[in-house]
Subunit: 480 residues, 2 copies
């Protein structure tokens, strides 16, 4: 190494070629052996940490040593989210094409904070979100051809937060962003159902609204927001001089996959000029299938923002949340900062989109690539088949549950999500879930559904088969 | 395809092996040819978009077609941030090891939101941040062995936001998170210098504090916060019944790399029990070199939070912001949400860290891998050499500027950042920068420094050589 050159190991193309192949092979081998691994680890808190050396190495170590430690120390401490028998939470399914897109994004290493900092990064993002809007049958109102358009965020939590910030901005004519929130005088009030995702309440805390100013609206027996209760709550707030400003409707609740009556909620929102955000994080992906679409996009034509996660059920590896807004102005107004060092002619021309104005962070990586590659290399028809099969297998699983008198199907399955319990009660159900997961052969998680402890089966894995779903049922019934 | 199996293309190990090699080779070729490409593109707004088809394909397309379009349509529209002659903004330098870490993270596809959702993902993160704290010589107070510890965020903007949220929580005994911000009665006031990063003001808007309640404190002739002016401002606010709650000190301003007097600021913060956040986004990396450390970590022993971006100058590809807090309690108190479906025994035991409670999003990918691989495969000594060479080349560049009577070196160079202008004035300097960048042979950006339009040279590329830096100077002087 001379003092005139770079660090040779930082990026040597020939070395990268060789090491890249080794890592690609490692990943291929990992996926090929996933089914034979226990889905969940058995490590105790601190166990992984205790096997790692206290100090970073002064000298370089070879890739082979790192991969050996990965296999020896790290992998045994992982829950394998890509395992074919992972049925917990919601899926976060990767795919070959999306992983390659993430790799290309890292290899290109460009920053898309401004249009000017890498124009193609911004324009491909606008482009694939228009593709996706079209595939989902979302209204033209959310297209980039109008005053709104789409953007990629890391997660639905961030999408919900910026929607709430934009709503706050619109409701107060930009005052909250400039002079702060003033909840002790005429408080701003937000609304979401009792079953809405925790990120709505988290956003209310972050945005200075206060978690207590998020009204949790009751749900019906199927977990759907009661729109009459919403109307009553919002009318009462307005009558008391408070300011209803934001409603989050859920399309596919985390607990049971319930779909709020968005069209009814939109009517309530319109009466109070409240911002309507639709959180379709998981279920939204199924709108690519015409037969599921109507229930999922109903009311979207009156939404101010609508988001879902291609990283859940559409085979794009985490992170990839797609958010559309009907009007970008309040969002940009609240989040734009253009200090001298970011000023440029393209921005000043008004002819470009600067996506840093649509999000919390300034920097942003080229996430559109992985969405683009997944859509192109798999194709829309294959993605529809992927969703359809999971719905069919979950439906079949639910029928098996319903036919077994020891079990209660708590609600009809929503898409590929099944919620069930032992008739013997919560303690028995919890105990069963623990014993099922302890086998390491499958993994399911729980929720509260119809006020009972529910076991949830969420089908969505990239390599999951019907046999995996049926084997999980056989395991459950044998341990019941 | 049968109805019983998965989508074959979603993840086939043999197909992934072949396609993975093709993409690895594409990236190696891209890096090998980077130096011969223009650093910046010449596309007009909408030009890339106009070359992309209006609808997503129904049927799968081969990787070769996607790579062809990438080369033909996308790459000509990119600013090449990894180009050896990219000297704009701050670097966002990737490296072979970090790209492989990102690839492994995508391939594993695990979620680290809770310890329980993949224990090794959380523990490796805690581990590498302790390594990094040690390498930078940051105080024990920020170690995970105590009540605080480190976490990875996407960017410094997010780190600053959560620090402000934690500060708000601490200053109001959790009231703002619960019942909202009340800026019209006893306003909370934040402080940062005029040269602090725009993300501090953006955070004040998002957090409901209001941008106007961020006091911008004057800087001295070198761009450093005037701590006497800070003390005067904060005393005046306290005397008027307002609540000073948050101070952001900058270690390495974006404009000129100036370092605020953190120890003096810490004394002011202590007097008012205000949260002290240190934003060392770019410059912090240089603390791995003992000779630069003292100036960079001074006062860190009294900071409540301290963050920098390994993705800027430490060869970890974007995104990777390292944030440490002295006490995790107010952060977790403000950001924790544990609905039924996230509850688990490990969390309830209190023996584990759930990193979703340290950030805005719920989900999180396994970013510790790329930091771990970069530190191990390059080694601390090589990283020190990387930083030292850039500082030496920038110093040499600055001497050339200072020796040319047509130019003014506006401030002494800070580490690897040089700010200069033509003596002939702002218009001439701006025109020169435009002409230099129009060659496509190098790329620099601008800022306002000592109230003049300044050209900034920020050295930090993974493959940048001394020759690249000197060639940029020769180009500049030939066009001046």
């Amino acid at each position: 190494m001379t003092d005139e050159g770079p660090l040779p190991a930082a990026f040597d193309p020939e070395r990268f070629r060789a090491e890249g192949r080794a890592v690609v092979d490692w990943i291929a081998d990992y996926w090929a052996t996933l089914a034979s691994r226990p889905v969940t680890p058995t490590v105790a808190p601190g166990e992984v940490l205790s096997r790692l050396p206290a100090r970073a190495p002064a000298a370089a170590e070879p890739l082979a040593d790192v991969l050996a430690d990965l296999e020896r120390i790290i992998v045994p401490g992982l829950t394998h989210w890509q395992h074919p028998s992972f049925f917990g939470y919601f899926p976060a399914s990767a795919s070959g094409p999306s992983i390659l897109g993430e790799l290309l994004s890292a290899g290109l290493g460009v920053q898309g904070m401004l249009w000017a900092t890498s124009p193609a990064c911004t324009e491909l993002e606008t482009h694939v979100l228009d593709w996706l809007r079209d595939l989902l049958g979302l209204p033209d109102r959310l297209s980039s051809a109008g005053p709104g358009g789409g953007v990629i965020h890391d997660s639905a939590s961030s999408g919900t937060l910026v929607a709430m910030i934009a709503a706050r901005e619109r409701a107060t004519a930009a005052a909250t962003n400039a002079t702060g929130v003033a909840q002790d005088t005429r408080p701003l009030v937000a609304y979401a159902s009792l079953d809405a995702h925790s990120s709505v309440e988290k956003a209310a805390g972050i945005a200075g609204i206060g978690r207590e100013w998020l009204r949790r609206i009751p749900v019906d027996h199927l977990g759907r927001m009661n729109s009459a209760a919403l109307a009553a709550a919002i009318d009462a707030d307005a009558a008391a001089g408070r300011r209803p400003f934001f409603i989050a409707a859920t399309v596919g609740t985390t607990a049971s996959g319930a779909i709020d009556p968005v069209a009814e909620i939109a009517a309530v929102a319109a009466r109070h000029a409240a911002w309507l955000h639709v959180d379709a994080a998981w279920a939204g992906a199924a709108a690519i299938c015409p037969e599921f679409r109507e229930a999922l996009v109903a009311g979207a034509d009156r939404a101010d923002s609508w988001g879902f996660n291609p990283h859940k059920w559409l085979l794009v590896n985490f992170d990839c949340h797609a958010l559309w807004v009907a009007n970008r102005r309040p969002l940009v107004s609240a989040l734009s900062m253009k200090p001298e060092y970011l000023r440029n002619r393209a921005t000043e021309s008004g002819a470009v989109t600067d996506y840093c104005d649509w999000q919390v962070p300034l920097g942003r990586r080229f996430r559109a690539l992985k969405l683009w590659m997944t859509l192109r290399m798999l194709g829309a028809e294959a993605l529809r088949g992927h969703v359809r099969r999971h719905v069919a297998w979950a439906t079949e699983f639910a029928a098996l549950v319903a036919a077994d008198p020891r079990f209660d199907l708590l609600v009809p399955p929503n898409l590929s999500l099944v919620c069930f319990a032992l008739a013997a009660g919560d303690d028995a159900t919890r105990d069963l879930l623990d014993r099922v997961n302890a086998t390491g052969r499958t993994f399911l998680t729980h929720a509260r559904v119809t006020d009972r402890f529910a076991i949830r089966l969420a089908v969505g894995g990239a390599t999951t088969t019907r046999d995996d779903v049926l084997a999980t049922w056989r395991l459950i019934e044998s341990l019941a």
